[in-house]
Amino acid sequence: MPEQNHLIVQKMQDITLIELMDKKILDESCIGPLTDELTKLVEQDKFPRMVLDFVNVAHMSSSALSMLISLHKRVREKKGGLRLCNITPTIFEVFKITRLSEVFGISHSREDAIKDVLKGR
């Protein structure tokens, strides 16, 4: 299981499971390296299918949302799929307020997210 600074990455079939390890994803000191690591993961697959697990994340900024939007766009350009999961109710509220809950596929648990990605949602 390769472990990176801000992420724990696992491969399951052709799905990349990514657990975000930071409790707070707020500013450039975290978002910069996170973007680099996530971009690398998107670029390494022809059709990236990814699950992003927010189980450790308690705080997020608008910059983190911007990073996710760019990541999502790139995954779609490559005809891949991205699901988010294990989002706390407080963080989910941020997605709802910004209407990004309508843009991202959000699953309750990691297991649900894997099923949803496999179904091409």
Binding site: L26, D27, E28, S29, A58, H59, S61, S62, S63, L65, S66, M67, I69, S70, H72, K73, T90, V94, I97, T98, R99, L100, E102, V103
Partner: protein, 137 residues
């Protein structure tokens, strides 16, 4: 608690100061959701002042004052930039802007705080959240 600071245009210093203010907020008995809201707005305001206000110029300063009481938390953040007109910031929840990366900081501050005010020049923001005592009234 009322305190004023002048800090350099530096994210690390800004983050440390935000932590310091949030410590006082927690001590005053604000619940977790309100602490989350104040943290989010404060972080957004400081990052805006550093990046958009002072343009990350290390020669410029940021002035912050904070009142934290059981009645309210009232924080003012001023940068040395030219200022902006908050009315001109596009609505990030409009269909055409939904997938544009930027522009959500201000709307999140407005959503999470009870009041968000600007000075006329637009280089100073005041964010206010009602405290636990006021909330019980």
């Amino acid at each position: 608690m009322y305190q004023q600071w002048t800090i350099p245009t530096d994210l690390k210093t800004g983050r440390e100061l935000a932590e310091d203010i949030l410590h006082h907020v927690r001590v005053q008995g604000y619940d977790q959701d309100v602490c989350f809201a104040i943290r989010l707005a404060l972080e957004e305001a400081i990052v805006n002042a550093i990046k958009h206000g002072n343009g990350c110029d290390p020669l410029k300063k940021i002035s912050i004052s904070a009142y934290v009481g059981t009645d309210k938390t009232d924080i003012t953040i001023a940068d040395e930039g030219a200022g902006f007109n908050p009315q001109n910031v596009p609505d990030p929840t409009a269909d055409e802007n939904l997938e544009k990366p930027g522009g959500r900081g201000l709307m999140l501050m407005r959503a999470y705080m009870d009041q968000v005010l600007f000075n006329a020049r637009g280089n100073e923001i005041r964010i206010i959240k009602n405290g636990p005592v006021q909330a019980q009234q």
